[in-house]
Structure formats: structure tokens, C-alpha cells
Amino acid sequence: MLWVDKYRPKNLDKVLIHEQTAQNLKKLVTEQDCPHLLFYGPPGSGKKTLIMALLREMFGPSAEKVRVENKGWKVDAGTRTIEIELTTLSSTHHVELNPSDAGFQDRYIVQEIIKEMARNRPIDTKGKRGFKVLVLNEVDKLSKEAQHSLRRTMEKYSSSCRLILCCNSSSKVTEAVRSRCLNVRINAPKNEEIVKVLEFIGKKESLELPPGFAARVAAKSNRSLRRAILLFEACRVQQYPFTNSQVIPPMDWEEYVSEIASDIMKEQSPKSLFQVRGKFYELLVNCIPPEIILKRLLSELLKKLDAELKHEVCHWAAYYEHRMRLGQKAIFHLEVLRLSFVTARFAFLAFFSSYDCPKLNQFHDTSVCSQVYEHLQGFPYCNFWLKLELVFSVYWAPLWKKAIELVCFQMQQPATAEVFRHCSLCFRPFRG
């Protein structure tokens, strides 16, 4: 068994992080007054684990005997019947399901199926009327309509049924639903907490941990406990007596994104754009959500950018992420982000140089020309052509040929006829 699953705390007493939360939950259960719950927090922070532990606390070990059911439902929707297939995980006491799987039909799931489930009240073995727990995952992906229909269900059947909602971002859950639940925020674990967990696992597995190794894994884990443990185990498998110089295996898709980022920095042209598009598709095809790609790409780009540009690029990233969520075709927006990054650079450069322009206007002065070039030095990721283009798009130059020679000289590139042709093609509009 993977360590992730092996060392998953089975009940609320054994949790290593979020201890306070676990204690509070336990109190709730013992007081027999459990409201609807909404767990939210970043992935890998332990929401699901806590929920499972909570269920066990409520119903005892029988809550762990779950079986998967794949059932088709027929829902009457006005004139037609809709068939929905839904996978549920259920024990005798609870049902776990992912209503957002149904896509745009999630409304019917909430309206019909969940209602149906909530209505049926289980009878205890002791003849006492028990209550049932519905665990709904990924509530934030539910459509607005579904969420709205959820709130009535929550109120109406609250005597026989408790809902436990689980999502990443509470901001996408409507206010109405949130206000009906006890919100439990599960933070991403701090690096120290991750280290603690890793050390615990190391002790259990009787491994020798060199000092600082766990911290390194934790730093790589992006504050996701799941990832940290998996990485830890991967390290263990790859090379056991841990060494401090050991390579912690990176996430493949992250590597790929950083490749894209360096591609972006290298060349700016429609052609390279086309190649990058292929790579984006490659990532998207492998089920990696575009939001995550975007986020990662941004952080990769920020590593390589000049300080002045960071602000601008962040702005555009936020802007296009917003649009991406509104829209449907993520690829459009990803590309536009990737490009707007470029334009941000251009714009910045234009601003920067126009500021200096009066000084630099006399292009015959080679010293000024070299000054221009020094500015360009500030952008180490431009390639040669780009730099040429920049020079001439920004500085209108009557003596552009001379300037080309100069730049070529400084870039240690031969000032060939090709260079001149390219420039004259590119900058016809700039030469008045």
C-alpha cells in the first residue's frame, strides 16, 4: 500500500495536522448535534481524510465498509426523461457522490436523486431512527442552479439527513449554501507540519532520515501533504539510504510547463506560438486543468522576468484566468496570456525607452547607440532578431543601417545582407 493510504489517519484522534479541527469535530459528534458541514481548502490538505475519520467517529467501523455502485437514474424533467449515470460510494450509513460529474445535468441530480436519498430515512438496528450522511464532493463545480436547488433540500430534510460538502474554494459555493453549513476551513499544511508527518512516517517505516531531507521534500511539495508523502516514498524507492544531494523527482507536468515557459522566452513569433499551442494541447489532453497550467506558467515566467514586468504580467494572468473561467475554450485564453506577456514586455520597453528618447534621438552618435544596447541588455531573454526589432520599433532612426551594424557588432553577429533585408521588411512602417 502506498504510504499515502497506509498512514492516513483512520480516526479523529490520530490526525497529525489540523488537530484542533479534529477535536472540534469530535466534540460535535459526541454532542449529537452535527450540523451540515462544508469542508473547504486547497487540494492535499486533508479534507477527505478528515471527513472519513469523522464518519468513522459517527458510525463506527461499519462506515468504512463501502461499496461502489454505478447506477443509472431516470429523472423526469418536464416533458422528457433524462437518464443520468452516477457513481456512488455507499456504506450503510452514508452515501458519497460527486454530483458535478453529471455536467450540465447536475441540477437534476441535486433535485431528484439527492432529494430521494435524503428523504429515505434509515432505521437503526436498535429501532431508533438514525440519520444519514450524504457526502458531496466538488461542490464548487456545481452549477448555480444545482446549488440553489440544494439549499431547499438542506432545509427540508435536515431532520433525517446531514450533508457534508467538500470543495476547494468556498467562493464558488453560493452564500445561501454556505450559510446553511458549518464551514470548516482546512488549511494547506505548513511546511513544518509536513516535516512532522514525514518524520512520523520515517519512524514507522524505520528509515533513517538525514537532517533537512524532510524539509527539502516539504519545500518541493507545494504544501500539499499528499504530494509530500508521495514524493517521500518515491525518493525512498529510487534511492534508499537518503542523501542530502538526492534528487527529488519533479512533477512531470510542471517540468513540461517550465519547458513551455522557456520556449516563450526564447522566441516570439507566430510560428513559435503555433508550437507552444501544440504543447498546451498536450497538457490539456492529459487532463491537467487549464487553471493550474496557467498558474504554474505564471510562476515559471515570473522566475525569469525582470522585476518591472512582474506586476504587469500578473495583472494579465489574473485577467485571462477570469476570462478562461467564463469561457469554454481554455486554449484561446492560455494563448492570449502567453502573448499578452509578450506585449507587456513590449509596452514596458516602449515606455521605458520613450522616457529616454530625447537623449537618444541622435542616432549617429555611437555612444548613444551603445546606450540603447545597454538597455537591451536588461532583457537577457530576447534573441537577436527580437532585439533588432525592439531597437527599431522603439527608436525611429534615420540612420537605421548604421544602427543595425552597431547592434550586430555588439551581438557578435555578422551584419549580413539577410539582416538588412529582414530589418527593412520589418520596419518599413517605422521609417515614415
Binding site: V66, E233, A234, E282, P289, Q328, T343
Partner: protein, 889 residues
């Protein structure tokens, strides 16, 4: 006479309104209207019918109730027009009046009035309700009216033969008189607009009721009218006097020139016959409106009188956009359908109604926006057409199909139906069949009320094009249009060029807006625009273009989500933006956009694969394994864990203890995650390691292929690729492990299978070095089995427990042993000693157990057990003969 019941009161109100309308028209000195009225009376038969009589009589109360309140009135005839409202607006006056007379005429309470009363509600402000007494002593007034009416009808009874001039003079005199009288009483008489019926919307209230009141473009109105007039011959019969050709030509003169040409040249060959009836009137353009109406109305009347069986229909199709006119030449005279189009609010419907009424048709309206399916529309049209035979009063019908574009929205079915019917009608006509319905359909086209009149009607009439929506332009043309600039003529001047580009935009706009697959259009642009060679050193254009594409995506999503289809009119403008940015003169090479579709289908496929995999994993693990977290966090480390670098592709016996533990752990993980390796024919040598001992081109790949999730194009995943031999070993182990697990699960339903499995595995690890012990255990087990067979019922769980672990171990050890010989898949799985031992015993047992019942029980027992044996033929160094597994037990 009594008026207590509600029905009558309502009817009264309605009547009152009618009267108002008529009189209001009169007051405006509308000559033609007046004449229509005359006609109206005439058609209602000359002697005052009982109906007419009662109508005039019922008007009495309304006069009466006002009379006492307007003491200044002298002329009853005109005081009739005094609105109730004037009194109510000045309640003090009425109160005073009440005081004047002893009898109560007007009161807040119905009970205060003795006799019949009429409730009146104040229209403005308070909404007070008062009750007015009904007085029945004023028949004189009504008599007056009746007399007047009868006078009029008397004079007009011979109207058809009489000259129009006389009638006209009469009308003029009457009108003048009325005008004078009304002007003398302006103070008391409010204009009829401020009527009691405040419930009516102003839109309806002030809708034009006669042709002259139409505010829409004069020329268009005339065109419509002239078109309707052309039907007269066919509708009202040839024997009856037609609309004068002069009138027609006059009408046409006012229409646009091209239309005229069209009509005379192409559409109406019948016109070349020349005028049948030389015109009597010299029609001037100023009063042609008036002249125009006369003969028409006459015809109408005559027709209804003489020929009730002939009841042709006409059809007016009314729409907001599109200029598709179904055209058919009927009798060589007229097109059957007229299409009126234009932006909303220009009065298309009004024009259709007014003109049809004006020409003496009975308007049948079909509101196509209600039910749009072709079937219902067809039924409705047929209803309207065939109703003639049933209906008593048989004016010819003009079918007005309103909102035909609404019908267009649903798959154009309705228009097709109409077209079909038009065609059918024509055919039946040609065949000269005596069909009951000689329906003719007409469409009107009213183009953009104010802007151009002449433009598209001729086009619509002469061509068979049914709307440009049907334009079958391939989508490639659209993309090409977006990407390619029209070549400007060199001779043209600059401003013409600019206009040209404007035209191009218009064209593009219409092109795109007629297509419904906007998403595809933008996909195509997205796929192709990077291949174009446009000048863009700063990439600004590209950014702008992509931005626009992004907007289109947002728009699309919003439209889909909110079902607000009207927003989709903004798509074309987006393409124009892109066109402006990117268009070049040279021909672009355009490819069909595939990648987005491919991406989508691939994504679906992979998701499906993940799901099915998840469903195979035990729920206690898969519940924590959502797609997102799997792809984001789990997959890469998992692959690392699954492919440890230090597994040597050697037999298990040669491994150290530590290595064995690792291997066991690895196998445990693989089983738990229901992963295995699968034999695949390797076509690409990427997976094949150099040092694997396989000669045939067989490689092992992960099944389910989760490693595909990190196999990005042009990227080498970081995890170590296992050697083929190792994979083979793992495959085998996993397979065996699974079988063991299954058998355990079968025999022990209650215990947690995975836990037990783990235990078994661990036991196996511990026991592995001591192989001799294993053999002993096996022997023990077989002995046990036999003893158990003998004492059938005593088979109990603890024993199984005991025997489970050695067995599990035994199997695995043997299998591992088998892999000792590189390249050999087939190995004897058990030591020969053990094998024969057991074989002997079984045969021995078989000899003993002659009782068939006992044997059956033994069989049942054996099936319940979980002994594993895999017999591979050809791998024994002793006896070689085929046997059944059963015999070993």
C-alpha cells in the same frame, strides 16, 4: 326595454366605441373613409335591419345619461358625442346637477339611483366609480339617427349606378357641416382620443385605422396597395369592373421606377394586353388615394353579393428580416405572396391589415410566433383557406402571416410549407380544376420603411431565392473571406477604395450572420491565423486577434448558458475585427480545424480511462483519488514508485532480503491499484530495452496506461523505465497475487480481503527463504485436505487460515522460481516431489472412495478451497501425459 344584465352593458360599451371611431373619422373630414362607411351601410342592406336598429336604440342610454348633465346642449345630434368623461372630471358640476334635479342621476352608490344605472369609472387619478341613471325617454335622438342612416342608405342604395360625383358632394357637404358643428362645440367636446377606454394601450389606441392614417412610408404603402389591387380581377371576378388600369398605373407611377419596369416587363405579361376598361377618371396624384378606393369598394360589394362561392384568399407574410418572397405568377398576373419586412415598429402588421381591409378583404391573421412547427402552420393555413365554404359572410380573405421570421427560426419548416402550398395552388390552377378553394397567396414586401422602397421588392419578386439564409456558402469561403482582402481596383480612387472596404465588411457581416455555426468559424480562424503571413513585428495584431477570439468564446458560452440567442448578432462584428487585422491580399491556405475536436475527444477518452481504472481500485483507495489530484499530485511520484531503479531482472532467489521486501511491496502496490503490465506488440522500439532477453518483439506496457498521462510530446518523463524482464516478472507476480487474493476472498467472505492479502504476502516474504518448510507445509496441507475429505463436515475456518499463508507463499515462491531461467515463461510450478506425492495420494484416494456421493461432496469441498496449481504442459522431467487439475487434488 331593460338593461340590467351585464352582457348588454358590455355590448353597449363596444357599440359606443364603434360609434366613436366612426365619428371621429368623420370629424376629420376623411372623404374616403366616409365613403367606406357609406359602403358599409350599403352592404348592411338598405333598409335598417333589426340589428342596426337595435344598435341605434341601445345607444340611447348613453346619450341620455349625459343629457341632464349638459344643460347647455341644444343640439342632441352633437351632444351625443359629449364624453362621459367630461362630467366625471368635474364632479362638482355633476353634484350640482344632482341638486338641481330632485331625481338622482349620478351617485356614488347604485342604490341611490332608482331604475337602471350604468357604472362609470373616472379614468384619471382617483379611479372613482359613480353610477349614472339610465333614462329611457329620449328616443327622439335615436330616431334622428335612424332617419339619418336610412337617408344615407336611401341615397346610396343606387350608388353603384349613380355617379360618384354626387356622392362625393354629399359627403363633402356632410363633412363640412360636421366640421362646422364640431368646431362650434370644441369647448364641451373633448377629442375622441381621450376616451373612456383607458385600459387600452396607446399603441393600439392610436394605431392607424385607415389607409390615409398610415404613417409609414408613402411609397411602400402604395406599392402594397397596388399589389393588392392587382388581385381584383382574379378575386372579384372578371365580369365585374376591375380596378381601373389608370389607377394601377398611377399607383405604379408612385412606386419606384425599377419596380415599374419589372412589373411591366417580366412579372406581369398580362399587362401587355392593354386596358380593358378605359378609364373614366383622370386621376391626379394628389387625390388618387380617394379615387383609388371607389371602384375597389364597389367591386368588393358586388362580389360579395353576386359570387359568394368564389372566395379567394390572399396571403400576406410579414416578417422582420429576410427578404425572401415566394413568387408565383398566377393567371399570368400577380405574384402570390408578398413579403413585408423591416425592423420592428415600422408598422408592417398595421400596413398589412389596413391595406387588406381597405381593399375589402377579410383579414385572417396567423400569428406564427405562437406555434412554429410546420405542421401547425399548415393546418392553420388550410383552416383559413377552407373556412370560406363554411362561413356565411364571404368576403375574400387575405391571409396575413405575421412574424414569419419567427417561424423561420425553427428550421424554416414553415416557409417551406407555405412555398409548397403556393406551388400546389398554382398547379391546381393550371390544371383548371374546379377546386373549391381558389386560394392565392400573396406576400408583401415592405422594405425598411423610410430608407429605400424600390430596392428589394423587385428582387424578391423576380428571383426564386428563398432568403439568403439558405445560402449554401461553404465555410471555407467564410474563412477565406475573413483572411483575404479583396483586391482593390487600381483605377479606383482612394475614397472609392474605402467604400469598397466598407462593402466588403458588409458582405462579410452578412456572410457570417447567415451562418449558424459560429463556433466552427472561430475555431477555423484560431487554427489558421497563425499560418498566415501578416506583418506584425510587435505581435500586437496577434494579441488583439486572440483577444477577439477570446471574446467570441465568452460570448458563445454566455449565449449557451443564458439561452439569449439574440446576442449572437455580435459574432459577425468580431470576424470583421479579425478581418481588419489580418487580411492580406494573397490567397490563404486554409485547413479544416481539427485540433480542438481532437483535443476534446482525446480528453474524453483519457478521462474515461481514468474513471474505469478508478472503478477497479478498491473503494477505500479510489475515494481519495479524484482526477484532478491524481493528475496533479499523484501520477509522477506513483510512476517513480512503480519503477524502482534497483530491481535487478534476476530470479527472486538471487535477491537479497531487502530487495525481496521491496519487490513484495511494489507488487502489493500494483495489486492494490490494480495495475499490471500488459503484453503488447511493440511497433516502436522506444519501450524495448537493450538488455532484455526477449527475442520476439514483445514489450510490456502499463495497463491501464497511466504512464500516458506524463508522456508529453517532446518530453521525457523523469521516472525510470523498467527493463522488460522486470516488467515480465512483475506481471507474473501481480497476476498470481490477484488469483491468491481472489481465492482468499472466495473462501473468506467476512474478513477484509486486502488486509488478509497483505498478511499473506508478508507471510510469504518471511517464509520464502525456508523453502523446505514450505514443502512440508504443503504436504501437511494435502494430508489435511484428505482428512478433511473424509470428515467432510469438519472443514472449518481456522484450518483454512492456517493453510492459507503457506499456500499463498507456495504459489508465489514457485512462480518466482520459475523465472529463474531467463526467457522461459513456462516452468513447472511445483517441485516434482510434491507433485507426484500428491498425485499418488489422490489416485489412492480415488480408489478408496467408491461412493459417488462422497466424491461429490469431496468435489464440492475442493471447489471451495483455494489451492492453486498451474500446470504447464511440456515442463516436467518425468512422466508426460495430459491430466486434469482435478486429479491432483
Amino acid at each position: 326595454m331593460e338593461f340590467p344584465d351585464l352582457d348588454e352593458l358590455q355590448w353597449l360599451e363596444v357599440n359606443q366605441q364603434e360609434e366613436e371611431e366612426e365619428y371621429s373619422v368623420e370629424l376629420e373630414v376623411e372623404e374616403d373613409k366616409f365613403e367606406i362607411e357609406d359602403d358599409h351601410y350599403e352592404s348592411e342592406e338598405a333598409p335598417p335591419s333589426p340589428h342596426r336598429h337595435s344598435q341605434s336604440r341601445t345607444q340611447i342610454p348613453s346619450y341620455d345619461k349625459k343629457r341632464p348633465r349638459s344643460p347647455l346642449d341644444t343640439d342632441y345630434d352633437e351632444c351625443v358625442r359629449v364624453r362621459v368623461r367630461t362630467e366625471i372630471e368635474t364632479p362638482d358640476v355633476s353634484i350640482q346637477l344632482e341638486k338641481h334635479d330632485n331625481a338622482i342621476y349620478l351617485s356614488r352608490f347604485a342604490s341611490e339611483i332608482d331604475g337602471d344605472c350604468v357604472p362609470i369609472t373616472a379614468p384619471s387619478g382617483s379611479g372613482e366609480r359613480v353610477y349614472a341613471k339610465l333614462d329611457r325617454h329620449t328616443f327622439s335622438v335615436s330616431d334622428d339617427i335612424v332617419v339619418k342612416n336610412s337617408n344615407m342608405s336611401a341615397t346610396s342604395s343606387g350608388l353603384i349606378s349613380e355617379s360618384v360625383c354626387v356622392l362625393l358632394q354629399n359627403a363633402e357637404q356632410d363633412a363640412l357641416l360636421k366640421a362646422l358643428q364640431s368646431s362650434s362645440e370644441v369647448q364641451d367636446t373633448l377629442p375622441p382620443e381621450s376616451s373612456v377606454m383607458t385600459e387600452e394601450l396607446w399603441v393600439n389606441k392610436y394605431a392607424p385605422r385607415s389607409f390615409t392614417e398610415l404613417l409609414s412610408d408613402e411609397q411602400t404603402n402604395r406599392e402594397v396597395l397596388s399589389w393588392l389591387k392587382q388581385w381584383d380581377a382574379a378575386v372579384f371576378g372578371n365580369g365585374i369592373r376591375n380596378t381601373e388600369d389608370e389607377v394601377l398605373s398611377a399607383l405604379r407611377r408612385h412606386s419606384s421606377l425599377p419596380l415599374h419596369q419589372k412589373h411591366s416587363s417580366a412579372s406581369f405579361p398580362g399587362k401587355s394586353r392593354g386596358p380593358k376598361y378605359p378609364g373614366k377618371y383622370t386621376v391626379t396624384s394628389s387625390n388618387f388615394e380617394h379615387e383609388n378606393n371607389r371602384p375597389k369598394v364597389v367591386d368588393n360589394v358586388q362580389n360579395t353579393r353576386q359570387n359568394s362561392s368564389r372566395t379567394p384568399d390572399q396571403k400576406v407574410v410579414n416578417g422582420n428580416d429576410g427578404d425572401d418572397g415566394a413568387v408565383g405568377v398566377d393567371d399570368g398576373v400577380v405574384v402570390q405572396v408578398l413579403l413585408l419586412c423591416g425592423p420592428p415598429g415600422l408598422g408592417k402588421t398595421t400596413l398589412a391589415h389596413v391595406a387588406a381591409k381597405h381593399c375589402g378583404y377579410h383579414v385572417v391573421e396567423i400569428n406564427a410566433s405562437d406555434d412554429r412547427s410546420s405542421a401547425t402552420i399548415e393546418a392553420k393555413i388550410l383552416d383559413a383557406v377552407q373556412m370560406n365554404s363554411v362561413m356565411a359572410h364571404s368576403k375574400p380573405k387575405c391571409l396575413v402571416i405575421d412574424e414569419i421570421d419567427g417561424a423561420l427560426g425553427d428550421g424554416k419548416g414553415a416557409v417551406e410549407v407555405i412555398l409548397k402550398m403556393v406551388a400546389a395552388e398554382k398547379k391546381s390552377y393550371d390544371g383548371n380544376e374546379a377546386s373549391i378553394k381558389e386560394g392565392r397567396y400573396e406576400t408583401k414586401s415592405l422594405n425598411r420603411g423610410r430608407k429605400v422602397v424600390s430596392l428589394s421588392r423587385p428582387v424578391a419578386l423576380s428571383s426564386q431565392v428563398i432568403g439568403r439564409k439558405d445560402m449554401t456558402r461553404s465555410i471555407f469561403d467564410v474563412w477565406k473571406e475573413v483572411f483575404q482582402k479583396r483586391k482593390p481596383k487600381q483605377s479606383r480612387e482612394c475614397n472609392i477604395n474605402s467604400r469598397k472596404s466598407y462593402d466588403a465588411n458588409e458582405f462579410l457581416y452578412s456572410l457570417v450572420s447567415y451562418r449558424s455555426d459560429n463556433e466552427l468559424i472561430f475555431d477555423g480562424i484560431h487554427e489558421n491565423f497563425l499560418q498566415l503571413r501578416y506583418h506584425d513585428p510587435m505581435l500586437q495584431k496577434t494579441v488583439h486577434c486572440l483577444d477577439t477570439l477570446g471574446v467570441s468564446d465568452l460570448l458563445h458560452q454566455y449565449v449557451l448558458r443564458s439561452h439569449n440567442m439574440s446576442l449572437s448578432v455580435y459574432y459577425p462584428s468580431l470576424t470583421i475585427t479579425i478581418h481588419q487585422l489580418l487580411a492580406r491580399v494573397e490567397t490563404p491556405s486554409i485547413e479544416w480545424p481539427k485540433s480542438f475536436q481532437r483535443y476534446r475527444s482525446l480528453l474524453m477518452e483519457k478521462l474515461e480511462r481514468l474513471r474505469s481504472w478508478q472503478s477497479k481500485i478498491a473503494p477505500c483507495i479510489s475515494r481519495h483519488l479524484s482526477v484532478n489530484s491524481f493528475v496533479e499530485d499523484t501520477i509522477s511520484p506513483l510512476l517513480h514508485i512503480l519503477s524502482p531503479a534497483d530491481v535487478r531482472p534476476v530470479a527472486v532467489q538471487l535477491l537479497s532480503d531487502k530487495e525481496k521486501t521491496d519487490l513484495a511491496q511494489l507488487i502489493g502496490i500494483m495489486v492494490l491499484y490494480s495495475l499490471t503490465y500488459k503484453n503488447t506488440k511493440s511497433d516502436s522500439s522506444a519501450n524495448k530495452s537493450v538488455h532484455d532477453g526477449l527475442l520476439d518483439a514483445v514489450s510490456f506496457s502499463m495497463d491501464p496506461p497511466i504512464s500516458g498521462f506524463v508522456n508529453f510530446k517532446g518530453y521525457k518523463p523523469g521516472h525510470y523505465e523498467l527493463a522488460s524482464a522486470v516488467k515480465q516478472l512483475l506481471t507474473y507476480e501481480v497476476e498470481k497475487h490477484k488469483i491468491v487474493q481472489e481465492s482468499i476472498a472466495k473462501s473468506m467472505h467476512s474478513t477484509d480481503s486486502s488486509k488478509l492479502d497483505n498478511n499473506a504476502a508478508r507471510d510469504g516474504e518471511n517464509g520464502r527463504p525456508k523453502s523446505s518448510k514450505m514443502h512440508e507445509a504443503l504436504c501437511d496441507y494435502s494430508h489435511e485436505g484428505i482428512t478433511m475429505n473424509k470428515s467432510q463436515k469438519d472443514f472449518c475456518k481456522p484450518i483454512i487460515h492456517r493453510s492459507t499463508s503457506p499456500l499463498g507463499f507456495g504459489g508465489s515462491a514457485a512462480d518466482v522460481k520459475k523465472l529463474k531461467f531467463p526467457g522461459d515463461v513456462k516452468k513447472p510450478s511445483f517441485g516434482s516431489f510434491n507433485f507426484f506425492d500428491r498425485f499418488k495420494k489422490i489416485s489412492h484416494k480415488n480408489c478408496h472412495n467408491v461412493d459417488s456421493l462422497e466424491e461429490r461432496l469431496a468435489n464440492a469441498e475442493r471447489d471451495g478451497r483455494h489451492l492453486l496449481f498451474k500446470y504447464n504442459e511440456g515442463f516436467t522431467n518425468a512422466v508426460k501425459r495430459p491430466m486434469r487439475i482435478r486429479e491432483f487434488l
